[in-house]
Amino acid sequence: MSSATQSNYKPATRTGRITDYVDQRVGGSGIVREFGRKIFPDHWSFMFGEVALYSFIILLMSGTFLTFFFDPSMAESVYSGPYVPLKGMDMSVAMNSTLHISFEIRGGLFMRQVHHWSALLFTASVAVHMLRVFFTGAFRKPRELNWVVGGVLLILSLADGFTGYSLPDDLLSGNGLRIIDGVIKSIPIIGTYISFFLFGGEFPGTAIIGRLYVLHILLIPALILLMVAIHLFMVVVHKHTQFPGPGRNDRNIVGYPLGPVYAAKAGGFFFIVFGVIAFFAAAFTINPIWNYGPYDPSPISAGTQPDWYIGWVDGALRLMPGWLFGVPLEWNIPLPWGVNTLSLNVLVPALIPAGIVFTLLFTYPWIERWITRDDREHHVLDRPRNAPTRTAIGAAGVIFYCVLWAAASSDLIATHFKVSLNDVIYWLRALFFLGPILGFIVTRRIALALQRKDREIALHGRETGRIVRLPHGEFQEIHAQLDEYKRYRLVSFESPKPEQGIPNENGIVTKREKRRSKLSHFFFEDRVAPVTPAELAAGHGHHEEITAGDGTKQVSH
């Protein structure tokens, strides 16, 4: 900016004069120079954070439209709109105004569906983005804190999704709120008080919709915006990570500058995301509240589930037995002030699985760092196969989640695959415990096998299927050697070795060190070492004369 003030540049055109005027006052060219030259690497899996950001922007815009017409009141009213099967029905003003938006406001139903579909895409893309970050090890130093910010964003988006889902006061969401009420009431001693405080009296009361509305449109979105700002700021500070490749290391970044390539791509990508959501909203119905009818505490519909991102908690509740081996899980405990009920059959499934997942999620960067004692900065990503144990842990987590999600749709699995509902529950109970373990073992084996395959290809090249007969009668298959660029990706990774416990200054290996050593063995005992240059030289010499003429197979780019 300071250099701009002394410039004697005289713009020739009218547009030039205007832009120069603005630039001299706001320093736009400085900003463009700084941000326009930020380099971003190219990989399709890096774009899900962007998808999340764009669907959040779409949520803000469509949500603003909906607030113009939605009335978050639980006052009683009679529906008199055009939807015949509800005409003359008593319902809350919230439900009435949602029906009004759906059937009378021009474009209202479309905007409602845009809002809800983009909420599903938002949470899904946040999840995919986090999985990408986890599986590639992008959470390692210096990005641990940004990983935590991302975790907070995930929880905030779940919270915003759930509060929004409850707003129309329809039968489906009312049943969901009732489950939340039950979970809150299962908290020992104080649960009932919290529930009465939240609902302003006994469920459902007349206050909850208004309260959820304030959370949904004001508090949580503001927190999300704040967290997004921190998240993006840290991305700029840390720079983006990159996949391993020739010429890429922890001190550089290989890719295209933000301007003009990425600015154009990102701008276009926003409209692609918007287009996909708009197409869904126009062609596929979502949350048809007119089917569910207004909330009434007495009825419940078959096939009642929360949206996918809350579904796993519902699934845990469905899997939990009320009795275990003849012992009830609900006790009435006499206390000095009266009898309190301890409902472990609700408390345990509602809190434990979510507790495990979020605790591991938030602490994982430090767990791995403690085990590896790796204090270096990492800007080059791991290919998932090159970190077999981490990949296996991630896969176990995904399976854990999917089992619970499937449990939330146990009734639909039963009817659509014509199996017994009880059997579905029994199988999923078994999978709840065994699925993650099996998933862990199988994934780790697959990762190690892929590493061996890479090693094999790096050393001996790819089998071409061409058999050559040598002059002395021997048959040999021709192996096509990889070009150096491709081979680099297969050999340039780190493979930590399991570590023995290190004695402290007094020469004692502490219990903590021993635990660390055990975990280190658990993580790295099964390993496939990357090919060394010496091995490479030895491996090549063997095939040199045969593969010399096979240059056609090499692809460069």
Binding site: H43, W44, S301, G303, D307, S410, L412
Partner: protein, 262 residues
């Protein structure tokens, strides 16, 4: 009054009172429980129909339901189930049953309409039961809103709020109601086929059954205002759709955007 008060300490007074009380209770009970069967006598079948029905019954149903429809280990007695039960079970193809299972599955109808009504005539002749419903309750011109409310309170917990069906325990299920005729819906309510409870006329009066039928007709004929319904299965199909179609399409675009022309 004086005569009554003089005899109230008579040794037989307590007995007389007990008899009177029992008769009153029993009589009221008889009246209440026959409300549902009040229409049993409205349809009359010719003896020819009954005879033809008996022949069909012996040939097709007696293996399980026993001769004289008195039941066996494989099937319940049909005495008193009424013509409505036969019309529903046979008219929707559930009977004769293909095989024993958690519940009788729907399949192509095995008998013609006249054969079905002959079977119904025979079973109705065995004992009073719910008859074929009166056409005035099946016209679908009732109150759809009230019908919707009754449906959500009484039916939706098994059949789903949008009548898309739902699961019951151990392989049993409540079927989707789209495409079921009004008469069969009514008959199902009064006879409670498979695992369905009976909604007799004291529970849901015929007028309200008509409202429920009206509601079902309305939601079936109006279509979906918001686009394809994805099976009316709620958030599960919506979530799956977003994960498979939504994320799938987005991935295709991300690959396209980050691909380089080499």
């Amino acid at each position: 009054m004086k005569a009554l008060s003089r005899k109230r300490r008579h040794p037989l007074a307590a007995v007389a009172l007990l008899v009177m009380g029992l008769m009153l209770t029993g009589g009221l009970y008889a009246v209440v429980t026959t409300v549902n069967e009040a229409k049993a006598d409205t349809t009359t079948y010719s003896s020819e129909q009954v005879n033809q029905g008996e022949k069909l019954f012996v040939a097709n149903c007696a293996t399980c339901h026993g001769l004289g429809a008195s039941g066996s280990d494989n099937g319940p007695s049909l005495v008193g189930v009424g013509a409505a039960a036969v019309d529903f079970q046979v008219g929707t193809g559930r009977m004769p049953m293909q095989m024993q299972g958690p519940q009788a599955e729907q399949k192509p109808v095995q008998f013609t309409d006249s054969q079905t009504s002959q079977l119904a005539a025979y079973v109705a002749s065995l004992g009073a039961g719910p008859a074929i419903p009166d056409a005035r309750y099946l016209d679908g011109k009732g109150d759809a809103t009230l019908g919707g409310e009754l449906f959500r309170v009484n039916c939706a917990m098994c059949h789903n709020a949008a009548a898309a069906g739902g699961a019951l325990t151990r392989g049993k299920f409540a079927p989707a109601l789209a495409g079921v005729s009004n008469q069969h819906i009514y008959e199902a309510m009064v006879t409670g086929p498979q695992n369905m409870p009976v909604f007799n006329d004291a529970n849901i009066p015929p007028q309200n059954k008509r409202d429920i039928i009206t509601f079902l007709n309305t939601i079936e004929s109006q279509g979906s205002p918001g686009g394809a319904q994805l099976g009316s299965l709620g958030p599960v199909s919506e979530g799956l759709f977003m994960w498979i179609a939504g994320i799938g399409i987005i991935i295709v675009f991300t690959i396209w955007l980050t691909s380089r022309t080499s």
